[in-house]
């Protein structure tokens, strides 16, 4: 919990570009956050704002947070499903306790900026129908590092 307090403090005082967090929105136990991410400048998402939902388990930061985009505005991106789930390796297999909310936001921003074609993942319809509510339960198959 100390670590989450510090992260929150750092994120409000010195946020990475485009990332804003409203401490008012976050409950007292800090286990669930809502973070706003602005579509990066000179990308296909410029001018849009997205909201990310972070859930932290008791084991955070040794256990990765559960991160999804919140409705209604879910970016159309080849690695983001229409239910808000994100296919990003640092959120599961490549998580490290040295990562933070800020670094996750940065990774997502960079994922958005490198996108060249706004479209959903090819298996979107099937995945959204069959997946678990928790994206960490999905066995992600990371294959495309370019976007």
């Amino acid at each position: 919990m100390r670590r989450l307090q510090k992260e929150l403090l750092n994120l409000t005082t010195d946020p990475p570009p485009g990332v804003t967090v409203d401490p008012e929105e976050i409950g007292d136990n800090l286990s669930e956050w809502t973070v706003s991410v602005a579509g990066p400048a000179s990308s296909l998402y410029e001018g849009e704002t997205f909201r990310l939902n972070f859930r932290f388990s008791q084991k955070y930061p040794f256990d990765s947070p559960e991160v999804v985009f919140m409705r209604p505005n879910i970016p159309v991106h080849p690695h983001i499903y229409s239910n808000g789930h994100i296919c990003l390796s640092i959120l599961t297999d490549d998580w490290s306790p040295a990562l933070s909310v800020a670094s996750v936001c940065l990774s997502i921003t960079s994922m958005l900026s490198s996108c060249k074609d706004k479209k959903r993942p090819p298996d979107d319809a099937f995945y959204v129908k069959t997946c678990n509510k928790n994206p960490k339960k999905t066995r992600w198959w990371y294959h495309d590092d370019t976007v």
Partner: protein, 534 residues
């Protein structure tokens, strides 16, 4: 005969010394060989001569194969596995002169193949090797690629911020691997505990820093983790990966048996664990001589999938004499009308002949021997031949398996007999022949059981015909005689010494036949006699 005394194999492999210094007897102990040679003037020696004629020469390859059964192997406890691991590391260390922890990670990277590691160490680019194995090259001194951000005002204790808990700590509390990423002791401990307990990772825990794939060595884990529960699990994960990666080691497949077996050559061969389980080192199934691993795998799968279904089909159904669809009759009279829309055959369930001549005798059939009915049944028989062939072998195999389970009872009653005999002035050593007889009885049963599998997959040719002819008079008879002799032997109380002699003759004969049978099959492997179905 495949007697050890006479075969090309040295006598010593019968005894294997395990690392405790205990002597481990393989099933053919030395005294056995001596008695064989003394055998004379009874039926068994007569048969042996007969078998001798089939034998090409004393030192053929298939005998070597049989002798491989007796080649030494070791049963290792968890502690002995750890010791063995240390020995392997030390051996490499003597040559390579690298830190032990590095050698352990390198060896694991090469699945504990020392030769391969040493070859790579001296053949190619060492730095590339360290990169692949995720270790920092020990040749680069002052490796800290990322200098710790030490906050050192004059006079103050140097402090650093831990990137995980985001607190500032005295530098003395901070530590890291050769990659230079430093975290506080509490975070390291939590990180390693999570990896070991939740993710079940042991040998391949990487540095906690993001994107750093340098592996955490065992000394670091032992230094940073103190909870015994976690350390025990870590130890378990390490030994487990060691055993599973190492071609010369395997766990005993018995549930909850903690022993591992170590062999000099990872071939198809029997090993016996301390828990008593005898299994094939190559496929981990119960020892299945004379069947080869791939066939026993197929057979076991087939039995799992099919046998019950086939049994039920065979017992409860018949096929339509016209369209061969499988029919279950669950009531009513004998007049059957095939439900298959394109068939609609009228026939009698009893004789399978057409219904017409039966007229109104709905419940009794008097036409069983009519030509037409007989022809229909013949056709049915043919279509069932395949099924029956399988069931023939499967049922025999299953019966033996079932009987093996009951052999425990026999052991119990023989033990009783042995105690009784000891009260009749016989020494402990003198009554051991009875236990030996049951041992042989069981091993004959096992061999016999697997010959059915072998025979099932064998395609008909001259050699398979010889095998099928020899087989029933071989183990089948030997089994019967063996069990009879034990019982006759145990019931003749007044003539202990003669019955003793009789039982021993019998079991030696049976064991001889068993070995001859196995040898015959192995010889067939050598000479490519056996052709398999599909």
């Amino acid at each position: 005969m495949a007697q050890h005394g006479r075969s090309a194999a040295p006598a010593s492999p019968c005894l294997a010394m395990d690392s405790d210094g205990d002597l481990q007897y393989d099933e053919d102990s030395a005294d056995d060989d001596m008695v064989y040679d003394n055998d004379s003037g009874n039926e068994s020696s007569g048969d042996e001569v007969d078998f001798d004629e089939h034998r090409p020469g004393p030192s053929t390859a298939h005998e070597v194969e049989l002798a491989a059964e007796d080649a030494p192997f070791q049963v290792l406890s968890v502690q002995e596995i750890v010791d063995f691991m240390v020995v392997e590391i030390n051996e490499v260390n003597e040559v390579a002169q690298l830190p032990r922890t590095t050698i352990r990670i390198l060896l694991n990277h090469f699945n504990w193949d020392k030769e391969k590691l040493l070859e790579r160490l001296y053949d190619t680019d060492q730095e590339q090797l360290f990169l692949e194995a995720h270790v920092v090259s020990p040749h680069i001194t002052g490796t800290a690629s990322q200098a710790p951000r030490v906050n050192s005002r004059v006079g103050a204790v140097p402090t650093e911020e831990c990137e995980i808990c985001l607190t500032v700590r005295p530098s003395a509390e901070m530590s890291g691997l050769a990659c230079g990423h430093r975290f506080c002791a509490a975070c390291w401990c939590e990180y390693l505990t999570t990896k070991v307990m939740d993710d079940g990772v042991g040998q391949t825990i990487s540095c906690a820093a993001h994107g750093c794939d340098i592996l955490v060595d065992d000394e670091t884990v032992l230094r940073l983790v103190s909870e015994p529960r976690v350390l025990a699990r870590y130890q378990h994960l390490i030994t487990n990966s060691f055993v599973e990666c190492n071609r010369y080691l395997c766990w005993c497949p018995t549930p909850d048996c903690g022993y591992a077996l170590k062999v000099p050559n990872p071939d198809c061969r029997p090993v016996t664990c301390k828990c008593g389980h005898k299994f094939c080192f190559a496929c981990r199934e119960a020892w299945h001589d004379p069947v080869r691993c791939h066939l026993i795998k197929r057979w076991l799968k087939k039995c799992d999938d099919d046998s019950e279904t086939f049994n039920w089909i065979s017992a409860n159904t018949k096929e339509c004499p016209k369209c061969s669809v499988t029919i279950e009759k669950d009531g009513g009279c004998n007049h059957m009308v095939c439900k298959n829309q394109s068939c609609r055959a009228d026939f009698c369930w009893v004789c399978l002949g057409s219904w017409e001549p039966h007229g109104s005798s709905w419940y009794s059939c008097n036409r069983y021997d009519e030509d037409e009915a007989r022809a229909a049944r013949d056709a049915q028989e043919k279509s069932r031949a395949v099924l029956n062939r399988y069931l023939f072998y499967c049922n025999r195999y299953m019966n033996h398996m079932q009987s093996l389970k009951f052999e425990n009872k026999l052991y119990a009653s023989v033990k009783e007999k042995m105690e009784e005999m000891q009260q009749h002035n016989m020494s402990w050593i003198e009554v051991q022949f009875l236990k030996k007889a049951v041992d042989i009885l069981c091993s004959c049963r096992v061999t016999l059981m697997y010959t059915y599998v072998f025979a099932y997959y064998l395609r008909k040719n001259n050699q398979s015909a010889i095998f099928e002819v020899r087989e029933p008079e071989g183990p089948g008879a030997m089994h019967l005689r063996c069990s009879q002799s034990i019982w006759s032997g145990t019931s003749l109380r007044r003539t202990w010494s003669t019955s003793n002699r009789k039982v021993q003759d019998k079991y030696r004969y049976c064991e001889g036949r068993r070995k001859a049978l196995l040898e015959h099959v192995h010889e067939g492997y050598e000479r490519d006699w056996w052709v398999y179905n599909d």
